[in-house]
Amino acid sequence: MNGRIGLAIAVVLTGVSAFLIQVIASQAGTAQPWGNELSDDFVFVRALPIVLGLGVAYGLVGGWARSTGRPARRGDGAIRRFSGTTIALHALLAVGFLLALPTGLWQYLGGILDAPGPLPVYLYYRIHYVGAAIILVAVTGFVTYWWMTGDRSLLIPRGDWGRHLRGFALEIPRPLGTRLARILKLDLRRPAGSSGAFTFYEKVFSFPTWGFAIGLITITGLVKLLRYAVPIPGTIIFVDSTLHVTAMVILVIRTLDHLRYTLGRWPLVVAIATGWLPPRRGHAAGAAADVAEAERSATGAGS
């Protein structure tokens, strides 16, 4: 029941936010001295509080609607891996990336190659800003949701780094794993134990690099966005733009790696679409034992 009410609240909030942003955009009007790019920049700056507020609201609603009494295991043996809020925010993030990454890449490569591309420049920026706004909503939504629910299943507990690094070295291809173990002085003969609801690869490498790159691109993007509204020295803008592009390239690589990792483990794709890790051979079967541990500690709901 809470889920349906939460969804209804989220839909209403989305509608109200879209209306408010539309009002801001229409207030910019045509009788202003700026070009379309600069005009869009100001619309985005003024819409920022609404965008961030909507993300926080999604997180709060998701946290409130999360049912703590749900079973973590289905009758057919499937294990709950993701909650409805996580699925929705992940999908939102994917849509944001689909809009922001290609347009960001085109702005960068178009400048490098000195090729304007088929669309007017302002349209690339406009689509990029829409994608960035969606990413901001999803990121603030996730952070608020994790704060609300206290879910830390993707984080490595304090004092448990050695075991996780060992598990990570054992999960990646052997030549890479042994090299990493030699550098970090890890004893791979010792068992790593259970990684919990997520694999060592996801906890040690995937999630931290996603978090770092998304954090970097968000902060540098906000600085770039605010440079017309607040005076910022040219050197800072140069460093900021370089870091923004670096984060973009990291995200392009992370997206490819994430797709490679998950498509090679189809139950994970099913899990992010339905919330349930199917009871199949391969990863799901292996993960069943891991998730059993998470089940014991969780309140019965998935991240």
């Binding site: 490098i112 190659l113 690589i253 797709l259 498509l263 090679g264 483990r265 189809w266 139950p267 391969g282």
Partner: protein
């Protein structure tokens, strides 16, 4: 469904290979990168090669899924 996702993944990998081509050739040929100096050129080259390597990895997996959906996708 698995095949459709594999085709989409293949398209994404192919698009990223185009990006790789632009970045790698841009490192040597683009006037802007040459003006910005060696660091910009090396960054373009390294970034391009990394994107290319991961795109090849994804592309290979998607081709394997298309050939044998159950074996390649761990399901």
């Amino acid at each position: 469904m698995k095949r459709l996702v594999a085709v989409l993944g293949l398209l994404w990998a192919a698009a990223n290979l185009v990006v790789t081509y632009w970045m790698v050739t841009g490192a040597f040929m683009a006037t802007t990168a040459r003006k910005e100096g060696l660091v910009a050129q090396v960054s373009l080259l390294l970034g391009g090669l990394l994107v290319g390597a991961f795109a090849v990895g994804l592309g290979r997996l998607c081709l394997r899924i298309l050939a044998a959906p159950d074996e390649a996708s761990g399901a």
